[in-house]
Symmetry: C2
Subunit: 281 residues, 2 copies
């Protein structure tokens, strides 16, 4: 049996009792370092906090392992209980659907143990979850690669009065261009997009496209380290949020649509002006 277990968002104690029960009976425990372990203060070298909580060794499955060696993991899971740990909920990212599809093809049993993910924890800012439209991803722009397909999506959400969750780019274990040319793998240092960079890119695209999907004055909510002890939630215009230091990653951004009175009351608690300590919790 393959147990795909969500770890939630904050730290090692955000696992559920059910998740921990499953780990206890597994002969092998993998943790994906593919998307982000950052919120757990875990580098790919140090998973000792988890190991001491679980009472057993944990193998970090980095990007290459998940992509190239998942069948090995699945074959182990055919004969014994294997845990595959995922930050957030198992179905926040495409990768884990892939893993389930491959497991089903190999006739390996799969059990999913859910947890919080950014997709529901953003509810904390007070905007109702059912009033969100399509979620967009904001990728790091480079000199030559500036994809802006998020623009139409935001525009459509805003036309419908819906909120837009913007997931911000994470670059972990990206091979350097040089290493790709030489065939020897070396990696760029990890990069996590800040709310400030995201807003800069959004405004750049608005300036080029000119479709008034949003403006400098559009209300947004910036959320940093969602679900952690030191999470930070600040509401304000794009222009205002550009000036806020949200601190360490992970960051995400919500572009606010039409609001109801209860939503507005909640946002008031998080506004830049009304909240000198910027809602550090």
């Amino acid at each position: 049996m393959l147990y795909i277990i969500g770890l939630g968002l904050g730290d090692e104690r955000d696992i559920t009792l059910k998740g921990l029960d499953a780990i206890k009976k597994c002969s092998k425990v993998y943790i994906e370092a593919y998307t982000s372990l950052l919120s757990f203060g875990i580098s790919t070298n140090g998973v000792s906090t988890l190991e001491s909580l679980y009472g057993k060794p944990v193998t970090v499955a980095d990007r290459e392992m998940v992509e190239e060696k998942s069948d090995d993991i699945l074959l182990e899971a055919r004969d014994s209980d294997v845990a595959f740990l995922v930050v957030g909920d198992p179905f926040g990212a495409t990768t884990h659907s892939d893993l389930v599809v491959r497991a089903k093809k190999l006739e390996v049993g799969v059990k999913v143990i859910h947890n919080a993910s950014v997709m529901n924890a953003i509810g904390v800012c007070g905007l109702q979850l059912y009033r969100y439209g399509e979620t967009v991803s904001i990728p790091f722009f480079t000199e030559t690669w500036r994809p802006d397909s998020f623009y139409e999506k935001i525009q459509k959400n805003r036309a419908l009065g819906l909120h837009t969750l913007c997931l911000l780019d994470i670059r972990v274990k990206e091979p350097t261009l040089e290493s790709l040319c030489r065939g020897k793998k070396q990696y760029e240092p990890p990069r996590y997009m800040s709310i400030n960079t995201a807003i800069e890119q959004l405004l750049e695209v608005e300036q080029i496209r000119g479709g008034s999907a949003y403006m400098e004055d559009s209300t947004c909510v910036g959320l940093a380290r969602l679900g952690s002890e030191d999470q930070m939630v600040v509401a304000g215009s794009m222009k205002q949020l550009l000036m806020v230091d949200f601190g360490p990653p992970l960051h995400c951004l919500v572009i606010v649509g039409k609001t109801h009175p209860v939503e507005e009351e909640m946002l008031d608690f998080y506004t830049v002006a009304g909240n000198p300590d910027q809602s550090k919790e």
Copy 2:
């Protein structure tokens, strides 16, 4: 401090370690019976499973208590640690935003401990969470009250190729009409909308509106008891799902938009035809 703690979707062991830590230090523990405790096999009379796990008494806060006496709970939380337990994640429903707003006004500290909710656990069917449009609610139709504002929302989502999560009506502790007239409270037996009823109502509205938002042949996914040991996931046309017995509540329904290949592969595992045991897990 008021701790608002998500219990997740399945049973008492879906609470997080952090949630349990918080309960252990609280002098008073409330659980909201407002939306649904059904998935926990808990009636409003029996919370003993939770009490024995927590090692302390748990007070059921029914609809009236949450709406009428929340300030009493908040005042307790000003002087001591109080836990308010919620099935799923604290921000799945409007009520809890209200509670936070009132807490902030009374200057009561609030800490939120997240968990899985239907809003992210539906990812289990293989449709990508970021490809969902606005979520809709399907209310029980009566002879005289047949609100269908969900129709335009579904139509807009489908025009954009997005999936639509339909949350199905729950009627718990509804006062009887008779009791309202007499001023003495008596309650209707609880009702939970089935996937079958939801589809019947959806098709009735399509027939009246005629906007081709969806049809009998539109692909949907029915999910029952999401996150429980005996959860059931079946994909098929509306017409096909009408014939499926999904068993006890809670049910929800996804109307599928445009799909990507990985999404299709996952749905294949859950289709009525391809899955004689109807994906009982």
